[in-house]
């Protein structure tokens, strides 16, 4: 538990030099992570689709991400004649910078982050919400109707889904009684000691489901990739971008996927906690870093898995799912948590009420599928009736 990178200045004498060095490290690591996430996604998806993915560039295609990055940097940076110049050119930055800012507070191991803010959780979703501005700017400034539709869709979708997202995080914050991400992670352990809880995925399964769904929507990943729908509006708000500006949108997508995964695994899966109590050889921080990385990788692979499996929702289905299903359930959970915490109920009550909600959510979906006429279900065509024309 010796803080290797405690919140104080380490790299330099002054606080600001220290912060700059840490930010530089984060940015560099993030770039590498993004390059390899694109490679990883291509490989994972290829395996799901019975393909090989990139194999030619470097051993097992490992240099593919680098080659793509080089190509993108070398490409011409086009701006349509009808575009609103400054809005168009600043939109990628407005999308990208919030994601970078989020990385400031994410704890990758105990006290291992750029800065540990007391309002870390609040900071994360407040700053990530700023993404919308960049997307709207891109949509409006491109002078393209597909981009406009994409931008508007993105704004509508992200603003709607932010509400259940924040509510699901609030119910965690209520139990943790803090918004400090380090404290939230430290408050979770697989072997609850005094003053500690089980991981919040156990205590709040409903919040976890809501968070995961809303996060997919915030990330524009399938089945919520409506703003960037390839087969409808051909990329949505970044349809007019090319070269480095396009790659900044791509960078944003993967960086925010990574940021959300780390954030989600810290908040719900206990960050660096594992169901094991004995101390391991080697420095603590290395183990913690590895465990957080593994958890966030599992998270990312789940996102990719969903992406290759499910089709896309329609915009009205998306909205009604948010406002009619996720929001009431999130509010109900908030209410239940309030009662239980006010009267000092045991943790098991939290689990039970939330699990009830989670079951209700799943049952709702299954019920909708089952109440449909039976003959519309899977595989009925194998028993078609003999025709007599």
């Amino acid at each position: 538990m010796t803080p290797f990178l405690a919140s104080g200045a380490i790299f330099g004498i002054w606080n600001w030099t220290d912060a700059i060095i840490r930010i530089l490290i984060i940015v560099l690591v993030m770039t590498v992570v993004v390059v390899y996430l694109t490679y990883g996604e291509r490989k994972v998806i290829a395996r799901f689709q019975q393909r090989l993915g990139p194999t030619r560039t470097g051993p097992a295609g490992l240099l593919q991400g680098l080659a793509d990055a080089l190509k993108l940097v070398a490409k011409e940076d086009l701006r349509p004649a009808t575009a609103d110049r400054w809005v168009f050119e600043f939109a990628p930055y407005a999308t990208f910078i919030p994601v970078l800012m989020v990385l400031v507070v994410l704890p990758f191991a105990e006290d291992w982050g750029v800065r540990n803010l007391a309002l870390g959780m609040f900071f994360v979703f407040a700053v990530l919400g700023l993404n919308i501005v960049g997307m709207l700017m891109a949509g409006l400034g491109s002078g393209n109707k597909f981009a406009l539709l994409g931008g508007i869709r993105a704004a509508a979708q992200m603003i709607s889904y932010e509400i259940p997202l924040v509510l699901s995080l609030l119910s965690v914050a209520m139990i943790a009684r803090t918004l400090d991400l380090n404290a939230i992670a430290a408050g979770q352990s697989f072997t609850p000691e005094s003053g500690q809880h089980a991981p919040y995925v156990v205590l709040q399964p409903l919040a976890f489901l809501i968070f995961f769904t809303a996060m997919l929507s915030e990330l524009h990943r399938a089945p919520f990739d409506i703003p960037v729908a390839e087969s409808e509006i051909v990329g949505g708000y970044f349809v007019e971008y090319s070269g480095i500006r396009w790659s900044m949108f791509q960078l944003t997508e993967y960086a925010s996927m990574w940021a959300w995964s780390v954030f989600g695994s810290v908040v719900f899966l206990g960050g660096w906690a594992v169901p094991d109590t004995h101390t391991w050889a080697g420095p603590d921080w290395a183990w913690q870093l590895g465990i957080t990385l593994i958890k966030s990788l599992a998270w990312i692979i789940a996102i990719m898995w969903i992406r290759v499996t499910v089709p896309r929702l329609r915009i009205d289905q998306l909205m009604s799912f948010c406002w009619k299903v996720l929001l009431p359930l999130a509010l109900a959970q908030l209410l239940a948590n309030g009662f239980i915490l006010e009267y000092d109920g045991p943790d098991i009550l939290l689990t039970l009420t939330s699990a009830l909600g989670a079951v209700a959510l799943l049952a709702l979906i299954i019920f909708r599928a089952v109440k449909r006429p039976k003959s519309k279900l899977v595989g009925t065509y194998r028993q078609v009736q003999v025709s007599t024309p």
Partner: protein, 385 residues
């Protein structure tokens, strides 16, 4: 100039809210138009209020080319109408010419034609299922699943005819050459793989809640309306009408085949039913191919040996309709002497099915417009001729 539908759904308070409709141009370069089709959608927010299709980007003058070529030379152009099922387009052309010329086809060749046409049908329906999954948004997984089976069918075509997409294998009076030695064994293996592929697609798409939710009750079509619009093929059968030319007017050897027209009591012609119908038809096609393999004469001629070097038809006229992969593939042939037809007209199913597009699309969302277009399963080679 666009025609405005009379009943426009207005949002509450929309009367005093001044909103402007926007036109968006989808195509000819667009991932979801399956070729070079263009439609201009007038949208009110996300809702489509008008749709104007534009076609003709792939016009190659098929009919005129046929009228200026020898009967046999024109074969190659007919492959390229429905380029997803080349064999199934050669057969009706040849059958129409055979009908006006009164040419007999050896029995073995008839069986081979049925096998090839049904394989083409499966091929085309696989393409539909894969591309439709991509339209609905499943990131190419359905596409790749479908592609695996299509590759195997194409490999089979290559073994048989030497070419994959445009085999030009069917000839007037039979087929170009006999089947390779191990064909039956290979074909049965491919059929097994096809069945597995259908199961895979079924598990991926039909079982998916989002997919069903997107497709169910979307743009339902009644049988009467479908007939009025000239919609044929799987689209018509999905409305619950059991109309299949292979049963209604059996040509070739289809009267010997046992197969069903897929039917359910609650067919309503919506997008889901169209998808269902095509998957069901693939099973029936596989059934037909198996029967052909069982019953086919093991040896014999595959091309009528009595044909002259240059085919000249003095007089003849016929309209031959064939159950193509997309619907009624009608060939009108008119000969007035010489080695070229005087008139050759194609009634292409995709073109007629496409005419129902506007009616289906108006009032739905943009996302739905895309999958409605996908569910029509048009091939632009056939639409534009």
């Amino acid at each position: 100039m666009s025609i405005w539908p009379e009943e426009r759904v207005l949002a509450p308070g929309a009367a005093e809210f001044d909103s402007v409709d926007m036109t968006i141009n989808i195509g000819p370069q667009h991932p979801a138009t399956h070729g070079v089709f263009r439609m201009v959608l007038t949208v009110d927010g996300e809702v489509v209020v008008d749709c104007e299709p534009y076609i003709g980007y792939l016009h190659r003058g098929l009919e005129k080319l046929t009228e200026n070529n020898d009967y046999r030379q024109a074969m190659g152009y007919w492959d390229r109408t429905d380029y997803l099922a080349g064999m199934a387009c050669e057969v009706p052309y040849c059958m129409a010419v055979e009908r006006i010329a009164g040419i007999e086809v050896p029995e073995r060749a008839e069986y081979i034609r049925v096998i090839m046409a049904e394989l083409s049908r499966i091929n085309s329906h696989f393409m539909f299922a894969g591309a439709f999954g991509a339209d609905v948004g499943s990131f190419g997984t359905s596409f790749i699943y479908a592609w695996r089976e299509r590759e195997r069918i194409y490999d089979l075509f290559e073994e048989v005819a030497g070419d994959r997409m445009f085999p030009t294998y069917i000839r007037i009076g039979g087929v170009a050459m006999d089947l390779p030695d191990n064909f039956e064994q290979r074909c049965r293996w491919v059929l097994g793989s096809i069945r597995q592929g259908i199961e895979d697609l079924d598990g991926l798409l039909t079982g998916n809640e989002i997919f069903v939710e997107r497709c169910r009750n979307l743009s339902p079509l009644t049988s009467e309306r479908a007939i009025a619009l000239g919609v044929t093929g799987p689209l018509l059968r999905a409305t619950g009408l059991q109309w299949d030319l292979r049963k209604a007017e059996p040509y070739g050897i289809y009267d010997r085949m046992k197969f069903d027209i897929p039917w359910r009591a609650d067919l309503q012609g919506d997008i889901f039913d169209r998808f269902w119908m095509r998957l069901a038809e693939m099973y029936q096609s596989a059934r037909i191919i198996e029967q052909c393999l069982d019953e086919m004469p093991k040896s014999g001629l595959v091309l009528n040996p009595d044909l002259p070097k240059t085919l000249r038809i003095d007089k003849g006229e016929c309209y031959f309709r064939y159950e193509g992969t997309k619907g009624e593939y009608g060939v009108y042939a008119y000969a007035r002497g010489g080695n070229k037809p005087y008139r050759m007209k194609l009634r292409s199913p995709s073109f007629c099915n496409l005419s129902a597009l506007r009616e289906m699309v108006v009032g739905n969302y943009i996302a739905d417009a895309i999958i409605i277009l996908g569910s029509l399963d048009i091939v632009l080679g056939e639409v534009d001729k």
